[in-house]
């Protein structure tokens, strides 16, 4: 299978504080891939390095077989889209205007829209089920709708890889599942590789083809959920005991952190 993202020995430090240390892993093309790990493990930094927001020193990131450093800005934007955790809404763009911004890597400086651009934006809004909101502004829609709008915008870039930084973290349970369903459908129907940072390990386990667990700036485990989610390893990393059983919905592991008052039971 071809490799979409290949992280090859990258390290990163903020000042003297080393966050990532010689990290290696591959994301297969067309996979739903999740990066998990405790707070401060360098997940978000990793995401920012892969998306090119931060520059890396040592090592390399290969995207679709080419070094990230060899891409021009717009060239990269046509192949890789990025959905940040939160987006400011200081200025009231309408949903449609915002989704259309996703076409800008394919347009000239002034971003003049062609009929094709409108058609692509219409399809993206229909796919993410936000077309009925297109005249509204961001502050007039809910958090779940907002995330779908930003995914529609990312789809408009026509990417082969979509990077998401905890897209579901601010949503309620039902909206989390709806959002993940949407990403899963996107992967199935278009073959876009999904790379996501997630705090919600159970949610991630239900959708991911592969996961990578990072801690202390390096890869601890990588592979399918049932391989990565090992109670002893998780306890070491998170500093809290875990119970693991099987998700009643299917052959996927399910984890519980064990609170102090139940510790006597295990």
């Amino acid at each position: 299978m071809d490799v979409a993202v290949s992280v090859q020995g990258i390290s990163h430090a903020y000042g003297k504080n080393r966050v990532l240390d010689n990290l290696w892993f591959d994301v297969p093309q067309g996979a739903f891939f999740t990066i998990i790990g405790p707070n401060g493990s360098g997940k978000s930094t990793l995401m920012r390095l892969i998306s090119g927001v931060l520059r890396y020193g040592a090592g390399d990131v290969q995207l679709l077989g080419r070094s990230l450093k060899s891409y021009g800005g717009k060239q990269l934007a046509k192949r890789v889209a990025y959905v940040p955790q939160t987006v400011s809404a200081e200025f009231p763009f309408s949903v449609q205007e915002l989704v259309m911004l996703g076409r800008s890597p394919h347009q000239g400086m002034l971003g003049m829209n062609s009929g094709k651009d409108y058609e692509i934006a219409r399809q993206a809004m229909a796919f993410t089920n936000v077309d009925h909101l297109k005249e509204r502004t961001l502050d007039q829609i809910s958090g779940g709708e907002r995330q779908r709008v930003f995914i529609a915008r990312a789809i408009c870039q026509g990417p082969e890889i979509m990077l998401l930084d905890e897209p579901a973290s601010a949503l309620d349970l039902a909206h989390q599942v709806m959002l993940m369903d949407l990403l899963d459908r996107l992967k199935q129907e278009t073959g876009i590789t999904i790379v996501m940072v997630s705090h919600d390990i159970n949610l991630a386990a239900m959708y991911s083809d592969e996961m990578v667990l990072i801690a202390g700036g390096s890869v601890v485990k990588k592979g399918p959920a049932d391989h990565v989610l090992d109670a002893r390893v998780l306890e070491d990393i998170f500093g809290c005991p875990f119970l693991i059983d099987t998700n009643p919905l299917g052959n996927v592991p399910r984890i519980f952190p064990v609170p102090d008052k139940f510790k006597s039971l295990i």
Binding site: G73, A77, A81, F93, E97, G102, S104, M112, Q157, L163
Partner: protein, 334 residues
């Protein structure tokens, strides 16, 4: 609104506001201390050879340069405000409030005291002054994003009062009669405009407007935050520095010709953002034309309201702008 193509909206806004600007300029040329009917003024404008020569002289030699300067100052300050608001993602940013105008004024006064020529000497010192204050404000307000909004205003206030102090310091140090008019100039003075000056200002600001318009869509994308803009292929460092340098350059050019006029860059972009939405490809031409018209009308009020003489136009712009600023600040907090 969004169904219309963007080219159509830009054209429509340009045509309508050009007409409005034309009307404002006609009023600006027509109304003054020697009052004639507007029809006489119209006649003088369309057929100068058949009309009264004093009237022609008043209109073309005295009022015309002044109206031109007002128009350009309004266009520059409004567009400058729009750019600062987009880059700092804060609708309260404005050249005067940020202290950029004050910095230019210090630079200009230093240039005058050193005895440099108005162009390019004083222009260069004014530009340097504006860049120094801009860098100061940006450094002071960068950092944690949650504090950004208030800290930017606070930095602006600090930089601004520092600028006023330095200006007064410089004025009291010098006995130079070249700055006898400086107090008037500080509040925005259009009364000493001449055509030559207007020509120089026009040549310095027109390229700036072109650059800003070309980068207007990049400003739209920058509003989504730097991470997102980066992922959409915008070279943030280049776009931001080009926009900051261009807008401080044109603001300082305007300040050294016309003095300080506050809040214009707040009022005009705010009105157009309400009326036309947040798309900078529409807002840039709207602020250039509409800002020009706004300042021509403010200048008209400054000449028309006092029984005797006139008041600095900065008095009018501040009296309109400051209450709006407070209103915006209050609404932003709630």
């Amino acid at each position: 609104m969004t169904h219309r193509s963007i080219a159509f909206r830009i054209t429509l806004v340009t045509v309508v506001l050009s007409l409005f600007l034309g009307l404002a300029m006609f009023l600006g040329l027509g109304i003054g201390s020697t009052s004639q009917g507007l029809s006489t003024v119209w006649k003088t404008l369309v057929s100068p050879e058949t009309s009264d020569s004093t009237m022609t002289a008043i209109i073309w030699r005295i009022r015309f340069p002044r109206v031109l300067m007002a128009m350009m100052a309004g266009a520059v300050l409004s567009t400058g405000g729009l750019v600062f608001q987009a880059l700092l993602r804060n609708p309260l940013a404005e050249p005067y409030i940020l202290g950029v105008s004050g910095g230019s004024a210090i630079g200009a006064i230093i240039g005058i005291i050193l005895g440099l020529s108005r162009f390019p000497g004083v222009g260069i010192t004014a530009f340097m002054g504006s860049m120094v204050t801009l860098v100061l404000v940006v450094i002071m307000s960068s950092g944690r994003s949650s504090l950004k909004k208030d800290s930017m205003l606070l930095s602006g206030v600090v930089v601004n009062s520092f600028c006023s102090a330095v200006i007064m310091f410089l004025i009291s140090l010098t006995q130079n009669n070249k700055i006898h008019n400086i107090m008037f100039w500080l509040m925005g003075d259009l009364s000493s405009s001449d055509l030559n000056q207007a020509g120089i200002l026009a040549m310095s600001i027109i390229p700036c407007f072109i650059i800003i318009f070309v980068l207007s869509h990049a400003m739209n994308i920058l509003l989504m935050g730097s991470e997102m803009a980066h992922s959409m292929g915008v070279n943030i460092r280049v776009v931001t520095s080009v926009l900051l340098i261009t807008s401080s350059f044109m603001v300082s050019a305007t300040v050294c010709h016309c003095g300080l006029m506050g809040f214009v860059g707040l009022v005009v972009p705010h009105i157009f953002r309400l009326a036309l939405g947040p798309d900078h490809r529409v807002l840039v031409p709207a602020c250039i034309l509409g800002g020009g018209a706004y300042m021509v009308l403010c200048d008209l009020l400054a000449r028309w309201i006092p029984r005797q003489g006139e008041m600095p136009v900065g008095v009018i712009t501040a009296m309109i702008g400051a209450p709006l600023f407070i209103m915006l600040l209050k609404r932003g907090r709630s």
